[in-house]
């Protein structure tokens, strides 16, 4: 692993190190952190630890700029969740926010200085027609009119085709599970709903339970084919684990949930890489890691390429091979080969590929 990546990891682990970097270090770190989506988190650390004055002026300006974007994203997510609540709140079943929106509305540390993509929801599968209809009444429409896309999502995926708001342009991903129907691992959505936590201020809006939130974050990351935000997502996991593992018995409960939800494998990867990149966060982790199946040498290498390539300039000779391995692995996990091969061929045959 190269020096720039090591430096980024070092300051993510110990923000006090931000005070001792040379301008040359900063030049590389600024670019690396910005493309990894982690500059705003470093900026918040620097402010809280009162290291602001130790940072070169030119870097501080970009930190300020990154904080402006992060604050804007929190405003935008809050507003969008409010609109979702207007549309779906009256329904008689719980609406579960996932990922970024859940971190933000649940005031969790992983929302800290984070950039958000689309808003993700989880609803029971048999309520999808009703949810879709209500979203349509409130202005969210599918932009996947293509019959292949419709079939791809509805038969194989764990979500309906994404819907985009007609005036605000915001996109919602409506899920009925956290992994595709065709995936090798089969978490049951009804088990996920057992431990959901209400979100303050929005009756009927929920997030996943603490352990399930970690499991979903891990599952999402280690089923992902594109690694642009791999390091940021792993850092989310690190922040969540630090936060939740202060509760007594949390790690045991996490293991138990992983077993019930068939998510032992992504949890093993998550704990391994959080430990390897950011260091240990608490004692239970050490025992936990020994119970889980750890990644082999090839996987370890390939995932490290994924995390390190947050900046393409710092790519090593075999990084593309590692990324290709991760891409194929993600698809292999999401679909059996007899579905996957025709799907990839279909994607190659057109200009704008379907998601997934």
């Amino acid at each position: 692993m190269n020096a720039a990546f090591q430096r980024l990891l070092a300051v993510l682990k110990n923000a006090q190190d931000l005070a001792v970097l040379t301008p040359e270090d900063w030049d590389a770190l600024l670019r690396h952190a910005r493309s990894a989506g982690l500059l705003s988190r470093l900026a918040l650390d620097a402010r809280e630890l009162q290291l602001w004055d130790a940072i070169p002026e030119r870097v501080r300006r970009h930190m300020e700029s990154a904080l402006v974007i992060a604050e804007r994203q929190i405003r935008a997510v809050t507003w969008e969740v409010h609109k979702v609540y207007e549309a779906l709140g009256p329904l008689g079943f719980p609406i579960v926010l996932l990922k970024g929106a859940a971190y933000a509305m649940g005031n969790l540390p992983a929302a800290r200085g984070r950039l958000f993509g689309d808003i993700d929801l989880l609803v029971p599968r048999d309520t999808l027609p009703e949810v879709e209809l209500r979203l349509q009444f409130h202005g969210w429409h599918s932009n996947h009119k293509d019959a292949y896309d419709q079939r791809y999502y509805r038969e194989w995926m764990h979500e309906i085709p994404p819907v985009t708001h007609i005036s605000r342009g915001s996109t919602l991903d409506v899920h009925h599970n956290i992994l595709p129907l065709t995936a090798r691992l089969k978490p049951r959505a009804d088990i996920l709903r057992e431990e959901i936590v209400p979100l303050p201020g929005y009756p009927n809006l929920y997030r996943l339970g603490d352990a399930d939130l970690v499991l979903h974050s891990a599952t999402h990351l280690f089923h992902e084919g594109e690694w642009a935000h791999g390091l940021r997502d792993l850092h989310d996991l690190y922040l969540l684990l630090i936060h939740f593992s202060t509760q007594p018995g949390f790690m045991d409960h996490l293991m138990e949930r992983a077993r019930r939800l068939d998510l032992i494998q992504p949890l093993g990867l998550a704990l391994y890489f959080v430990h390897r990149l950011f260091g240990s966060w608490a004692d239970p982790a050490t025992t936990a890691v020994t119970i889980l199946k750890l990644p082999g040498a090839v996987q370890r290498w390939a995932f490290m390429q994924g995390f390190a390539h947050a900046h393409p300039d710092f790519s090593e000779t075999f990084t593309p091979a590692g990324l290709l391995y991760l891409y194929l692995r993600a698809h292999w996990l999401r679909m059996p080969l007899y579905l996957l091969i025709p799907h990839l061929l279909h994607k190659m045959g057109r200009k704008t590929p379907a998601k997934g």
Binding site: P23, R31, S35, E64, P312
Partner: protein
């Protein structure tokens, strides 16, 4: 301090190959390119600009050929900023225009420590005039003529409003002229220095005008606002300057800002203060001579 003009051709090419630290107002761009139009453009249009020896650059940008066979057949170049590749590749002969547009893109996308507006800014007697850009209104032509007639150029494309002080910051970069404007300004100021024309871009034919040395030497002097003027070129008639309501000016400026909504309340407060301090006008003109006379009266 080293300026681009102090570098020999060889030294400039070598620095470009490694990364040239070009300072333009508050920004340092580290520019890396082996493309000749980039070299020529910098040589001619950025001659007066400082080469920064600071270790930290704001933006690391590259103009280079994308991988593939097009390297030899009708070669193309693309603009890269870190991992961003914001535009489709352009013909290699448009490499300098690609660099200019890419630099604008970096500022619009990342400089949220300013309120950024799509407008030209010039200064006279310590006060700045902001010219918002309605496409086709003749903003760049007027900016070029003013900048060659005693007005100091701050920017032709992106106005930088300081969030704390409300002052306007210069970049003093070359003025991007399109189509007929190029000949109009060449006729207006036969000695003015232009870069090579890029023909058949998505904006038609474009050429960049070298900023005056004075404008570049004063690239670190911000300026308070004096006026907001919406220019419109008409094909006949005398010049007419008419007051424009501030509220209306505010709304137009907000809509033509790159990051007004990103900045939220700060954006509103910054723009509100800016517009409140300015006299706002609509300005119609036919000849550049008329326009310059009107601006002369405005500046007092």
């Amino acid at each position: 301090m080293t300026r681009v003009r102090d570098l020999s051709d060889l030294a400039l090419r070598q620095q470009l190959a490694r990364g040239l630290n070009l300072e333009t107002g508050p920004f340092v761009f580290r520019i890396q390119s082996d493309e000749t139009p980039v070299f020529t453009g910098l040589r001619r249009l950025y001659a007066d600009f400082p080469v920064s020896d600071e270790a930290v650059a704001d933006f690391h940008v590259r103009i280079r050929r994308p991988p593939g066979l097009r390297r030899w057949y009708h070669p193309q170049v693309r603009f890269e900023h870190d991992r961003d590749i914001p535009f489709l590749p352009l013909p290699a002969r448009h490499a300098f225009a690609a660099l200019e547009w890419g630099m604008n893109w970096c500022i619009a996308g990342y400089a949220h420590h300013y309120l950024t507006l799509h407008a030209a800014v010039l200064e006279r007697n310590g006060r700045a005039v902001l010219l918002p850009g309605e496409p086709g209104a003749g903003k760049s032509t007027l900016t070029a003529a003013l900048s060659l007639s005693g007005w100091r150029l701050l920017t032709d494309e992106t106005a930088l409003v300081d969030l704390k002080t409300g002052l306007l910051w210069p970049m003093a970069r070359p003025i991007n002229l399109k189509n007929n404007s190029i000949e109009i300004i060449q006729a207006f100021a036969p000695d003015a220095i232009f870069g090579d024309k890029a023909v058949d871009t998505h904006k038609g034919t474009v050429a960049h005008l070298k900023p005056t040395t004075d404008a570049v030497l004063r690239m670190h002097e911000p300026c308070p606002i004096g006026w907001v003027v919406f220019p419109r070129w008409l094909n006949q008639g005398g010049p007419r300057l008419k007051a424009r309501p501030r509220a209306d000016t505010f709304v137009f400026a907000a809509e033509n800002s790159f990051n007004y909504s990103v900045l939220g309340e700060t954006g509103f407060r910054t723009l509100e203060r800016l517009i409140r301090q300015a006299e706002c006008y609509d300005f119609r003109y036919h000849t550049l001579e008329d326009a310059l006379a009107s601006f002369e009266r405005l500046a007092g």
